[in-house]
Amino acid sequence: MERVQCIEMIYPEIEDKLVVTIMGACAQELYDLGHRENFFYLQHAMGLASSIGLGLARHLPHEKVIVLDGDGSVLMNLGTLTTLARYRPANLVHVIFDNGSLLSTGGFESHTTSGVTDLAVIAKGAGIAHVASVSTTMEFGEAFVEAMERDGLSVIVAHVEAVGPDNYGMDFALPENAFRFKRCVQDRRRATGWTPPPDPGH
């Protein structure tokens, strides 16, 4: 299965959710389906998408937060799985697309390519209770529906082919994505009755 098929499948579900993606192909595939103000694309700082997800989920219990991660990024920050396991944000769904490749930086094999390193086993060993390891779009769809319905941290390791889009580009600068995402997140939080603290930045 291809990552783009998975993202297409869940797009109607995540269109109105807070979504954080990693860099490159994953970000582009989501963007190409239609950007939403509640999407944040982490185009660098590999490994930190799930940490951003934790910071969001922790403070926004009314939201479901979806992180679209990759094997290369998670391998750079394996500690994040232990931090997620410790704090168990119930409203976080952590999808790890494992294509066994550092696709966006030249397609070099990652440590998961040989099948020796199993990210799902690592996530379980870190202490995350709900971990799915899937290889077909049917399995992925089922695991994702379960994760969205579950009131509990879910990790889905989705084994996908190492292919990505043939063109890259977004019509905004990176800080603009951050500013707009922040505004969107906080407008939604205000709708729950929350009053923002005084912001010396404005």
Binding site: Q43, A45, G55, H59, N77, T83, P175, P200
Partner: protein, 169 residues
């Protein structure tokens, strides 16, 4: 040398007085009493990370959520967080209010801290991260509030350096 109970309290009280109730941290000796207070305080949300770079992501998430946040780390943790600081916070204009325990400087008895202590200010300057030293418990609360304000107005990482004068007795 022991960690100052009174001054740890002054720093913690300063964080709360600045309106910051969300913290991320990796424990270290000088921060121990301070983090204990954070853990025991039901108003404070503390996330302990496995490595300091994670805290840059956590802080970004808290910022998007509109939650005033501070990061507590040792200077060696700052070194380990550097790519996140550059390629998340600085790249996207996300403020970070970092309270950094500066080990390995004047009076340092432990050899293993010294290299890091010697290069800390040079690295902060290289990254254009504004910093101040916190030495006096009487003004540390004001310095924390100012660090937070400046991080927000500049959309930049800002470091308040917690020194031996402040943290040890």
């Amino acid at each position: 040398m022991t960690v100052s109970y009174e001054n740890s309290k002054a720093v913690f009280d300063g964080i709360k007085a600045a309106g910051i109730l969300s913290l991320s941290a990796l424990p270290e000796t000088w921060l121990g009493l301070l983090l204990q207070r954070a853990e025991d305080d039901p108003d404070v949300d503390l996330i302990q990370v496995a490595k300091e770079e994670e805290a840059i992501g956590v802080a970004a998430g808290a910022y998007f959520a509109g939650e005033p946040h501070a990061l507590l780390m040792q200077n060696h943790g700052f070194f380990g967080a550097m790519n996140g600081i550059i390629s998340l916070a600085q790249l996207y204009g996300i403020p970070l209010c970092m309270l950094v325990a500066v080990r390995g400087h004047w009076g340092e008895p432990y050899p293993w801290h010294t290299r890091g202590g010697i290069v800390t200010e040079g690295l902060l300057r290289a990254l254009n991260i504004p910093y101040e030293h916190a030495r006096d418990p009487a003004i540390v609360a004001k310095q924390i509030a100012e660090a937070y304000t400046f991080s927000q107005s500049s959309l930049s990482p800002v470091a308040l350096l917690l020194t031996r004068d402040l943290m040890e007795v």
